[in-house]
Homo-oligomer: 222 residues x 3
């Protein structure tokens, strides 16, 4: 099992809420606002392959292939496309999904819209996006840069930063802070499990939190 797989497995054992709390404790912003699960009950973690789109109006009778970057995305990566949250055209669909599954890409995050959603749900491919629509991005948006830094609602995402998604939404974690974040998030989850156990025994929340260190849940107590 290589290093990437080990990291992914540790992240998949956590959830975005615990990771976000760990990031809060380190004063790192990571939540990608407005990006929702479009296929439910999924969980993904992997390094980002980033793609920046820009608005584009071609001359008539010119047509561009916007999605060919997909061929370069490595196995286990998560495609992150910034199409500036556009809801009037899409930048992901069934052809890209089919290719992504072939390449063992771990999932896709679109700051913008997606189409062919019924097919994609049948394929069970993890897809997060702002919106579902049917109009193509072809001749409306084009790739400006690949593997560049993105900024989504103030959160910066560099290539190989880690992306985690679940039914709460999607987080980006700076790669150089990843181990710190994982360690704190693992402690957050342990603290929460203890609080949940105490509540199930009938204790008050205030009591459970005071006893079990809810104020600093990322500190190890074991």
């Amino acid at each position: 099992m290589n290093a990437l797989t080990k990291l992914r497995d540790r992240l998949l054992a956590l959830d975005t809420a615990s990771l976000s709390d760990a990031m809060d404790s380190l004063y790192i912003a990571g939540g990608l606002q407005g990006i929702k699960p479009q296929v439910s009950n999924m969980k993904i973690a992997g390094p980002a392959f980033t793609v920046q789109y820009e608005a584009y109006e071609p001359e008539k009778n010119t047509f561009m292939n916007a999605g060919n970057y997909i061929d370069e995305v490595p196995e286990g990566a998560i495609v992150v496309v910034d199409n500036q949250g556009r809801t009037d055209c899409t930048s992901w669909g069934n052809i890209l999904t089919t290719r992504a599954l072939q390449q063992k890409i771990a999932g896709t995050v679109i700051h913008g819209s997606v189409r062919d959603i019924a097919d994609i749900r049948k394929m069970n491919y993890p897809l997060y996006a702002c919106n579902v629509y049917m109009v193509s991005g072809k001749n409306r948006a084009r790739v400006r840069a690949k593997q560049c830094e993105l900024t989504i609602h103030g959160v910066k995402i560099a290539p190989d930063d880690w992306i985690v998604g679940d039914d709460n939404g999607v987080l980006a974690i700076p790669r150089e802070r990843l181990m710190e974040v994982i360690l704190r998030a693992e402690n957050v989850e342990k603290t929460e499990q203890r609080i949940l156990g105490t509540i199930k025994e009938g204790k008050k929340l205030e009591e459970a939190r005071n006893t079990l260190g809810y104020a600093v849940p990322w500190e190890s107590k074991a």
Copy 2:
């Protein structure tokens, strides 16, 4: 069976649409715009326990427990939190849900965001909110007042006003108007059942409505 249980059962036999029509006939506004079911196929009715949050930016290294009000919420009540519709941080999650189930709280309505949604769906807890996200409200919002009057998109909600939620959304009914509203809503439903019966026999809608008093459906005809 106590009075509260009887009222709840009568409300649960109705739906938010009939109750809203009854309130329209009395010129009372009750619909809470933008608050959506986050767990489907639920129906709740109960007196409100209200909580007003406000935005808050603490000094670094200070942490607050925002949710401890939960210990005071009585069985059968519905928690109503006004966090001003914020989508950048959450004010409900799995710990509060676990405690709410322990306390037999009937459900929760958040004018704002919630997290841990996959867990909450598994727990089958009735939850209504504007948005799902993963970032904590801790150190972003704090309780300003409990059991105070809230105003959500112009609708006032006092403690012990009645809250009803179903897949259409959430309504607040002033407690002093509750019996009037229930009686009219029961008549609305009877009128609608008669109209539906007539339509299923193949009658035109206009005919069904004219015959059956659709213009004043809250008036008793029996």
Copy 3:
């Protein structure tokens, strides 16, 4: 099998994405932004029966029946209501749905809000709308015109223009362009099937697209 049924069957064999690509190639705008499937896994195609609502504030104690247009809608048609995207009141519910099913209306598209959604999902009626809420449109909106031209986010919809809806959303196709659009969309789907086949054999997307004419997918190659 009459002409309308044949057209509907050809449209139902396509999807909104292919039809939208065909319309793009003809420089016709058709996507109805912000209108979402409220009942999942449906697909509809049929000529529009259009209804324009307008905001309305009656004197007290006056009540209007806004939905009686339904009696005039022919079998196989799709009701398209423009209530200007309003989210504060509804213009479709269970009575209209029951009547629509009786009349074999093919589905409903509301630029606005709908209610009684749990019932409508049980009835399995194809319904597309911006929002779900419980407050009636009665005494808030009224029919200004029937079978008139609508404009939804810049897209014009005349009576008997064709409407197609699926899980991606809803498209309007000008009736006089329908055959052109269908022919091109059928070619789009053939091209896409070929690209998908090639990808499943392990080819790169760029290769598949170049070989198979993705730039002009609406041109016949057979």
